[in-house]
């Protein structure tokens, strides 16, 4: 174990961990929203993310950009980023709604048992990722260098880059808006009502089907933003990009308390940090093993996650 390395690099590890964690947290919201309302783990959420990560690349491709392009001017970068975000958000949102419509709604109509949902979830996930795999010959796809990481400020040996700031700020802003929507708006109140007591929600006139579509959509929007950030950060994507990150995001959701929005944020950031500290402490090859051992330990102490379960109960 390399303690001196961890202490020496604590600053840089923390900032990379936070940026990584912000992406995981955005991704995790989709699991938590759907679980909060349906008590269902939407395993196909990783492919909602996956299609978002391709959507922005395709749009950037329209402008003749690929991984070998030069970085465009600042003004075009802003425009391209916005277009990429819109494309990813739209495609991820549509994918999420589509998964709900095709894989889950028919089962719900027939009152299927929870295991049936699990199977269709895995089935939908595999179907989408394999289709992407076939269409891309399982090759990686490079991301145009829209943002050349540059130090914005330096504290000791901690170099904070423009990309890291973008990721963290965008993630926090999106989550803040989502939180406002869920906690302040009428539709948000409808979502919380279904999460807390579906029968009572129906007695208040809440259309459960619409609430379900809405949470899938919201989770999809967040995954779309996460996907663009991921592309820019990692520089490549691939048909199975959603898989491991999906497991991490799901874990983050459980760690924070599944069904709890603020738990997803906390869980995501914590997982990002843990991974980076663990990589430094035990070596990069142990990154996932070590961070998951730590997670299990945390869950042993707090089985319902750090902030506790339930979308509704998490209040300001």
């Amino acid at each position: 174990m390399n303690f001196s390395g961890l202490i020496q690099d604590f600053g840089p590890l923390t900032i990379t961990g936070l940026a990584q964690g912000a992406i995981i947290a955005l991704f995790a919201l989709g699991y938590t929203l759907v679980y909060g309302v349906l008590r269902l783990i939407n395993f196909a959420h990783s492919e909602v993310f996956l299609l978002g990560s391709y959507a922005c690349l395709i749009v950037w491709g329209f402008f003749g950009l690929d991984q070998n392009s030069a970085t465009p001017s600042t003004l075009s970068v802003i425009g391209l980023l916005l277009l990429g975000l819109v494309a990813a958000i739209v495609i991820s949102g549509i994918t999420a709604l589509g998964v709900e419509l095709v894989a889950y709604r028919p089962l719900r109509k027939r009152n299927a048992p929870p295991l049936a949902f699990l199977i269709t979830a895995i089935g939908a996930s595999l179907f989408i990722s394999e289709t992407v795999g076939v269409m891309t010959q399982r090759n990686i796809k490079g991301v145009p260098p829209l943002i050349q990481p540059r130090d914005v400020f330096v504290i000791g040996n901690m170099h904070v880059t423009n990309l890291q700031i973008l990721i963290i700020v965008l993630a926090l802003m999106s989550m803040f808006l989502l939180d406002r929507f869920i906690n302040r708006s009428r539709l948000g109140r409808g979502i919380r009502a279904v999460a807390q007591n579906p029968d009572s929600a129906a007695l208040m006139g809440v259309n459960k089907g619409r609430v379900i579509s809405l949470v899938f959509l919201l989770g999809g929007l967040m995954a779309g933003i996460a996907a663009v950030m991921y592309d820019l950060k990692i520089g490549v994507t691939r048909f199975d990009a959603g898989f491991l990150l999906g497991i991490e995001a799901f874990t983050a959701a459980v760690l924070g308390g599944i069904g709890n929005l603020r738990g997803a944020l906390l869980g995501g950031l914590l997982l990002g940090l843990l991974q980076n500290y663990a990589a430094s402490l035990f070596g990069t090859e142990w990154l996932h093993a070590a961070s998951f051992v730590l997670l299990v330990l945390i869950l042993l102490v707090r089985p319902t996650g750090l902030l506790g379960e339930s979308l509704g109960r998490a209040r300001a």
Partner: protein
């Protein structure tokens, strides 16, 4: 008739809970539904509000066949239920719970009027406006459930055991409030274990036994009916 059930049967899986019941509630009435535990009173309420699909028979509300209408749309038509077990949203404040009752409505001024009205009927709710529903006492939750059901400005208010869990003094009060709500123009279908109170306040009543209506009449008639007295009014 505002509400009419004709030969309604309802199944929980293979268990038949309602064996073809027919009942009606007229505009402006308080109608009570009494019966022993497990008779099917709450089930009848669920059939009317649409929480459970009926197997056979028809439910007509305000001249419209609502047998197959989704529960949330029945609220828009004017049916509102305070359910058995209260069904408070535990993570929402008292105020938010009441706002949920007005979920289908948009006119802010009218909603505020109704909030005031509920706070006047239940001053306790006003005092606890910001408290989280799940931490309210059982009796307070009961008031909240009734208040919340009023917030949709229903034509028909379904109350499933509104006196449950209330102290004796409050039981009197809640029945007074039911009468007051009714006099303000809301039709009420009332399920009660507290048959004495329910029958003395209701215009008409039905007696339910194992999923069948076995008796009906005015509240006063049933209060003096020997078999009803024996079975539901206790020795006192």
């Amino acid at each position: 008739m505002l509400l009419e059930l004709k030969d309604v049967t309802l199944m929980y899986g293979r268990i038949q809970a309602l064996h073809g019941i027919s009942l009606s509630v007229g505009q402006g009435e308080i109608v009570a539904l009494i019966g022993a535990n497990g008779a099917g009173k709450s089930t009848t309420m669920r059939a009317i509000s649409g929480l459970r699909p009926v197997a056979q028979g028809t439910i007509t509300f305000n001249g419209e066949d609502i047998t197959k209408l989704r529960a949330d749309l029945r609220v828009v038509r004017g049916v509102s239920q305070s359910p058995e077990g209260r069904g408070i949203f535990p993570g929402m404040s008292v105020r938010e719970n009441l706002e949920m009752g007005a979920y289908t409505r948009r006119n802010r001024a009218e909603i505020n009027e109704d909030l005031d009205r509920v706070f006047t009927l239940f001053p306790r709710l006003k005092e606890r406006e910001k408290q989280v529903g799940g931490t309210m006492s059982g009796g307070e939750q009961q008031m909240l459930a009734v208040g919340r059901a009023l917030m949709s400005r229903p034509k028909l208010l379904l109350l499933d055991e509104p006196s449950m869990g209330l102290a004796p003094m409050l039981i009197q009060q809640i029945f007074d409030i039911v009468v007051e709500i009714n006099q303000q123009g809301t039709t009420v279908l009332l399920v009660e274990q507290n048959a004495q109170q329910a029958l003395s306040r209701a215009h008409r009543a039905y007696v339910l036994e194992t999923g069948e209506i076995v008796k009906s009449g005015t509240g006063a008639e049933l209060l003096t009916d020997p078999s009803v007295k024996d079975a539901y009014l206790g020795v006192a």
